[in-house]
């Protein structure tokens, strides 16, 4: 278990031990002379021992440390983790300020579209690197590198370095890359570290006022401008209190960067002083209020997580209800929840077929310059056409349409 430095000059970071995988523990002791001395104990030493030593040297050099003793107890950590843990240990020893030891980058994924699919967002505790590398393989619509609730207060500093490195060096595709920051003012330090690596979305917890969103937006803008980041960094808020729910519309419209809102049910039910149940009747008002505010602001409403990762039936039921209420996605705590939620948020074949017929009738009417859309003898109201267009477009994004079926992307106002 890592502890903060007990001597001013010594820094420790990371974890090792029987049950630890893909992490390492670093003890860093600066010296006045004698160069860098490295002790290495690693289960992968026969394969990467030389590589690890070389990397440790390079990281210390990048942090302008020239004389030190560093002891590494490695449990098969990947290079981006090794760099982050050494940097955290050095910083905890009070050195390396203003410098970063960045790992080799992977190419950035294409920028995220404002209205892309966000059915599932998989939470990854920011301090547990073993979950990072394969997270994208499970194809959630988004992953969340969590700096907030999943991280012990004593590990916030080291975790934001690790998350920064993960954003830079880990291929999470096809998932959108979200980072959940801490509440302000700690959240500002998170932004300093992670914004230069261009996360797609900053997830803001426990939002109650539009001003909180504005403060974060301004800081994101400054850091992004500084780092010459020319791609969107969106904001998504989690409302976790009665007051947050009351201010939902103001929050939803606080910033041009806002793309979605979600609700944190643990905190919300605690705020109300009610018990959180499996059916969720106690939060139905808050959830529908949030859905309404989000839609009024033309952003997405996303539901809470389903906490019992062993109960797939309960999850499917919850997700289907969420869809009928107007949510477009929900949080995930385990990769096995992803396909269940994707199925629940998928329109049925019957819905798709019906929508396709309406779209075809609409396109026919457009072609013939008719103001009225009709299907057989029935007249189709404009809102029905809009809903059908939206459904067909979503079905296409979900891969539920055959390629020769009409695509309607051009007909949709997606902003």
């Amino acid at each position: 278990m890592a502890t903060t430095a007990n001597l001013k000059t010594r820094g420790e970071a990371g974890r090792c031990g029987e049950d630890v995988r893909s992490d390492l523990h670093v003890i860093f002791e600066p010296r006045n002379n004698g160069g860098v001395e490295i002790d290495l104990e690693s289960r992968v030493a026969p394969y990467y021992g030389d590589t690890i030593r070389t990397q440790a040297q390079e990281v210390l050099e990048a942090l302008a440390v020239h004389h030190a003793h560093i002891s590494l107890h490695d449990e098969g950590a990947l290079p981006f983790v090794i760099a982050a843990r050494i940097e955290a240990a050095v910083r905890r020893a009070g050195l390396g300020q203003g410098r970063r030891a960045l790992p080799l980058p992977v190419p950035l994924p294409p920028p995220s579209a404002r209205d892309r699919l966000r059915r599932t967002r998989l939470y990854l505790p920011g301090s547990e690197p073993k979950y990072f590398i394969n997270a994208g393989l499970h194809a959630p619509d988004a992953i969340i590198l969590d700096l907030e609730d999943a991280v012990h207060p004593a590990e916030k500093d080291a975790t934001r370095i690790l998350v920064r490195n993960a954003l830079r060096a880990v291929d999470f595709s096809p998932a959108e890359r979200m980072v959940r920051i801490n509440q302000l003012p700690l959240g500002y330090e998170d932004l300093e570290e992670v914004i230069p690596e261009a996360p797609d979305v900053v997830l803001i917890p426990k939002v109650e006022h539009a001003e909180q969103v504005l403060a974060i937006e301004e800081r994101v803008r400054q850091i992004a401008a500084c780092g010459k980041i020319d791609r969107p960094i969106w904001l998504m808020c989690i409302l976790e209190s009665a007051l947050g729910i009351e201010n939902a519309f103001a929050i939803a419209t606080a910033s041009e960067r806002m793309i979605a809102m979600s609700i944190g049910l643990e905190d919300y039910t605690a705020d109300l002083g009610v018990v959180k149940t499996a059916e969720g009747r106690e939060s139905i008002y808050a959830r529908t209020r949030l859905v309404n505010a989000a839609h009024a602001a033309h952003i997405q409403a996303s539901d809470s997580v389903y906490g019992d990762v062993g109960d797939m039936e309960g999850l499917a039921g919850w997700a289907e209800t969420a869809r009928t209420l107007g949510f477009e996605g929900m949080g995930c705590l385990h990769p096995l929840q992803i396909p269940v939620i994707h199925r629940a948020f998928a329109p049925s074949q019957l819905e798709i077929e019906k929508a396709l017929k309406i779209v075809a009738a609409f396109e026919e009417a457009q072609r013939r310059g008719l103001g009225v859309v009709s299907l057989g003898s029935k007249m189709i109201d404009p809102p029905v056409v809009t809903r059908a267009l939206t459904l067909v477009e979503r079905a296409r994004q979900m891969g539920l349409l055959l390629t020769n079926e009409p695509t309607t992307a051009n007909n949709l106002d997606t902003t």
Binding site: Y48, G76, L78, L137
Partner: protein, 524 residues
């Protein structure tokens, strides 16, 4: 080690010794290239006149039995491993021999387990000279470090039968742990407090050894029926209070992995089998009892139900997941070489469609065919696989002995061989330039399924054609390798090994496929 041999390069390009434990060897000449000649080995003729007219072959204890068998220095004692890590009989036999002052034995188990780590002391004391059989854990480390006086010989289950029948290994005394037996020596693994299911791994020992001792903790009056070991091959029967720890003989229940990454691999395998059309009415498959294999069976079961498809037979190692297939009518037969959990043991004892097989029927290459040639698809593991699809199952990537070959090599003869493996473990790549120890030639391995995609051996153009237009994540094996090397931070260093052989890996026909070299102490 005082061995005199030369080293030669075999057809797989691996350097192998020409002599092992005093016996001349044939270097692997290529798959299907070795044609042995001459008659099989045979035990001496016996006369019923030399055995009790009553048919009661019981003697008071194991020492008496071993004495009557004429056990002496330099002989070979064999055991089976159906009791797995719960076995008490193998160590009992060797320790009894030690008490009799016998030295330099060759121990010839069908596999060894950590519970037999006590054999190390017997090797140190000179009672056991060396082991020919799978070694892992402490025994594996002992052998890897070059401490054993002879060379280890790693054989597949089929290869062990072949070595016995071809006379490569002569068993002087077979000591067979029997969960139930009668006084004549008929024995079964299906019944009794120490029930383990099949006794197939002991069958060759019972037929070819000079002397056969059955050790049981559940004596029943004649006849012990149905019998798996025939009393007509047995010299002596010994009753003991316990042949092993039932809790470690079979698992109460085997569990599907919960790891999402491993489930992803299992799902890829099942989808591959479905989408290539291998899954069709009357097909057959085999999968082991590891977490990925069990998960694969679960996925395939659902796909078979959805498609209304039924298998003709499924090969075990059986588990409750295979037993469910049988019960649900998704397969006509379960042909089972060993039984991993209680559900498997019970099913074999009760269901006539759950049939105990032996390495002879399923695996032996030097015979007139074997069942596994007829299996449509088999799902196996591996520690390493190279970009030519050569695979290693016996050593860690650093050269230390990890586990035995089991039926792995014999399974490679199925219609389609799929390795279901993670692309890397922690930071250790599984897909490498060259495997540390060759256990299966790449020409026998058709598909490598990982969490990052499925690679098809270019030799299997038919499979490549069949996946065209499918949704399967088909990738070149080199492409997956490049990705994991990027993730892991470059190619791994080659393991540092001494130029001293500590064991050899036999191919299914008895030729030498590769050498296990002494590990350098202190690097692990």
């Amino acid at each position: 080690m005082h061995q005199h041999f030369e080293l030669v390069t075999n057809a797989a390009g691996r350097v192998v010794p020409t002599e092992v434990n005093g016996r001349k060897q044939i270097a692997f000449p290529g798959v299907g290239m070795h044609r042995p000649q001459g008659p099989k080995a045979a035990p001496p003729i016996h006369s019923a006149g030399d055995y009790p007219a009553s048919g009661d072959k019981r003697v008071p204890d194991l020492e008496t039995a071993l004495r009557k068998c004429g056990l002496r220095d330099g002989m070979t004692i064999s055991n089976h491993h159906h009791l797995r890590d719960g076995d008490a009989v193998a160590l009992m036999a060797l320790q009894t021999a030690a008490g009799m002052g016998v030295r330099d034995l060759m121990w010839f188990p069908s596999a060894s387990f950590p519970t037999q780590a006590g054999v190390i002391e017997l090797m140190e004391a000179g009672v056991v000279h060396h082991i020919e059989g799978s070694m892992n854990g402490p025994l594996g480390d002992y052998c890897s470090q070059g401490k054993m006086r002879g060379l280890g010989v790693l054989r597949s289950h089929g290869g062990r039968w072949q070595a016995i029948q071809d006379g490569e290994v002569h068993i002087d005394v077979a000591v067979i742990a029997a969960p139930t037996a009668d006084a004549f020596g008929n024995a079964t693994g299906s019944l009794g407090k120490s029930a383990c299911g099949s006794l197939g791994f002991a069958l060759a020992d019972s037929m070819y050894a000079d002397h056969v001792i059955v050790v049981t903790d559940n004596p029943v009056p004649f006849p012990c029926a149905p019998w798996q070991i025939q009393g007509n091959n047995v010299d002596y029967v010994v009753e003991v209070p316990s042949i092993g720890d039932p809790a470690k003989i079979v698992s109460g229940t085997t569990q599907i992995t919960r790891s999402p990454d491993r489930l992803k691999i299992a799902e890829h395998v099942a989808r591959f089998i479905r989408d290539t059309g291998i899954m069709r009415d009357g097909f057959s498959f085999q999968a082991g009892a590891g977490g990925i294999a069990l998960a694969f069976v679960d996925y395939l079961r659902r796909m078979m139900k959805d498609a209304g498809v039924k298998a003709r037979f499924v090969r075990g190692g059986s588990t409750r997941y295979l037993v469910e297939l049988l019960r649900e009518g998704l397969t006509d037969y379960l042909l089972d070489g060993q039984t991993f959990d209680l559900a498997g043991v019970e099913s074999m004892a009760r269901d006539p469609r759950h049939i105990a097989t032996s390495p002879f029927t399923s695996y032996n290459y030097n015979g007139k065919g074997f069942f596994n040639q007829m299996v449509d698809v088999v799902v196996l593991g591996a520690t390493e696989v190279d970009t030519n699809f050569n695979a290693n199952v016996v050593t860690h990537s650093d050269g230390r002995l990890l586990h035995g070959i089991g039926g792995w090599q014999n399974c490679l003869f199925a219609g389609c061989t799929i390795l279901a493996v993670p692309s890397f473990r922690d930071r250790i790549p599984v897909i490498v330039d060259e495997v540390t120890t060759l256990t299966g030639p790449g020409e026998m391995i058709d598909v490598v399924a990982t969490e990052r995609g499925i690679a098809i051996n270019p030799l299997r153009q038919d499979l490549l054609d069949r996946v065209k237009g499918s949704q399967l994540p088909i990738r070149k094996i080199e492409d997956i390798q490049r990705e994991i090397e990027r993730i892991c931070g470059g190619k791994p260093q080659r393991p540092r090994l001494r130029n001293t052989p500590v064991a050899v890996v036999k191919w299914v026909d008895g030729t030498v496929l590769d050498t296990v070299w002494q590990a350098v102490p202190g690097v692990v």
